[in-house]
């Protein structure tokens, strides 16, 4: 209960920290536009832990979940808080896709980009008891099936749904895409055999992989993942083949980044850029990346903005090809 005291005294002790042109004067709020327990939430809480453990900030950090309407609730909140330097929001590709799918008046260019923390991969998972050993087996089975195979993912008209759409196009097959409330739910449904496959992020399925309930077939990327420490059955993330190498030519990655509301000063933005640079350098962060098999890809400033522009264009094309744009 005395966290503000602790934080304040920690700040006095750590008097050596370089003086910034601007410093937060009250608690920093990280808005997570997804439910507690999800991948974005885990990232926010990890960052919260790192900042407080290492006293990177004189003020405490709080995480607030605003999951309603596919993340639009959190994004609207940031839009409304223009000029508030004590708010941050974790973002994924949803920053483009939610406005595209719902026609809500939201646009990332009205926010202030702070930093991109990492990129998240997508993996094709199947039940460990299923006969499929490669993506090729799976696609062949999908072609032969009389009733479309059930493929699970998180929400509708979002990342997972795009991947499934791309798989249908690449393989000339039809799937029954089943949206779930979270990746964890999709993972459970997969291990219970209620769906044939899922397109979860590595972190969302790692528990069931280790428990021997699910098995990764391939990663939707041109490159294998980098983490070579064994995870399950002596296999590591790096041992998962890429989907294109198995004849399934679909690749997709998702950014994970941090934004501030619009209309903040340069100094305020600089403070957070510096803060996240420090976070990205800690051992705890690197542990977290390895545990969640995230692709380390820290960017800020112009590099981040360029990335966002290119990514938005890519998503606009994907979304309109799939017919997911709101009419």
């Amino acid at each position: 209960m005395k966290q503000h005291w602790l934080a304040a005294s920690a700040c006095l002790l750590a008097g050596v920290t370089p003086a910034f042109a601007w410093e937060p004067t009250k608690a920093i709020e990280i808005v997570v536009p997804f439910a507690a327990g999800g991948a974005s939430d885990q990232m926010a809480r990890t960052i919260q832990g790192i900042i407080q453990k290492n006293s990177f900030s004189s003020q405490p950090v709080i995480v607030v979940n605003k999951p309603a309407a596919g993340g639009a609730e959190g994004m609207l909140d940031i839009q409304k808080s223009a000029g508030d330097p004590h708010k941050l929001i974790t973002t994924s590709s949803g920053v483009f896709m939610t406005p595209m799918a719902t026609k809500l008046p939201l646009n990332w260019t009205e926010y202030t980009p702070v930093a991109m923390m990492a990129q998240d991969s997508f993996v094709l998972w199947v039940n460990a008891k299923s006969p499929y050993q490669t993506a090729g087996d799976f696609m062949a089975a999908a072609k032969a099936a009389s009733l479309p195979l059930k493929l699970g993912g998180t929400s509708s008209k979002r990342e997972d749904n795009l991947i499934v759409f791309a798989m249908e196009k690449a393989g000339g097959v039809k799937f029954a895409y089943i949206p779930h409330a979270s990746g964890g739910q999709a993972s459970t449904q997969l291990s219970g055999g209620h769906i044939e496959a899922s397109t979860n992020n590595p972190a969302e399925d790692v528990a069931n992989w280790r428990g021997g309930a699910t098995r990764p077939l391939c990663v939707f990327s041109d490159q294998k993942m980098a983490y070579t420490t064994p995870v399950a059955d002596g296999k590591s993330w790096a041992d998962i083949p890429t989907c294109p190498s198995q004849g399934l030519n679909v690749t997709y990655q998702m950014l994970r980044g941090m934004f501030m509301p619009g209309k903040v000063t340069k100094d305020q933005q600089a403070y957070y850029v510096e803060l996240f640079k420090k976070v990205a350098d800690t051992a705890e962060w690197k542990d977290y990346l390895a545990r969640s098999a995230l692709v380390p890809d820290y960017r800020d400033g112009d590099a981040f903005v360029q990335f966002l522009k290119a990514d938005e264009e890519k998503h606009a094309k994907l979304m309109s090809d799939a017919g997911f744009m709101a009419k």
């Binding site: 209960m1 503000h4 709020e29």
Partner: protein
Amino acid sequence: MTLQTETEATPRGLSRRPVERIVALVLIALAAIVLYDSYGRGAGWDNGPENGFFPARVGWIFLAASLFILVQSFRSPQDGVFVSYEQLGQVTRVLGPLILFVALIQPLGLYVASSVFILVFMSIVATSRWWSIVLTAILVPLVCFWVFELQFRVPLPKGPLETALGY
């Protein structure tokens, strides 16, 4: 769970039947809005239900139920008192300050608004001494501030006073 006291020597007041009808009409209007919205988005069966399928079906049942309630109100022989004027007066004495409170939250912030609310409410009810009213009006917002703002770090709406004090 209402304590029905209306049967004894019917006091003057709003009678029940018109209120019953107004509510039924409002429900019918709501059902119509739901049906309009659902059919606008597609309420059919396209390899499983479309997104308006359920709201539309529920909307039809809702419409039927509210029409039935409307018809019932014409057929039922008894008519009681919905609320007597005296009771209505009492309710307004609570509802009035409450609406004022909610309206003041935006401009003044929650803490000042609750202070005003307590002052107005307790003076209207007029069962307490003035100093205990003032004390309550000051203490309650302070305690709330301590619990929510300082301890749980739940940010509540704040107004000019809090800004002046540096929060």
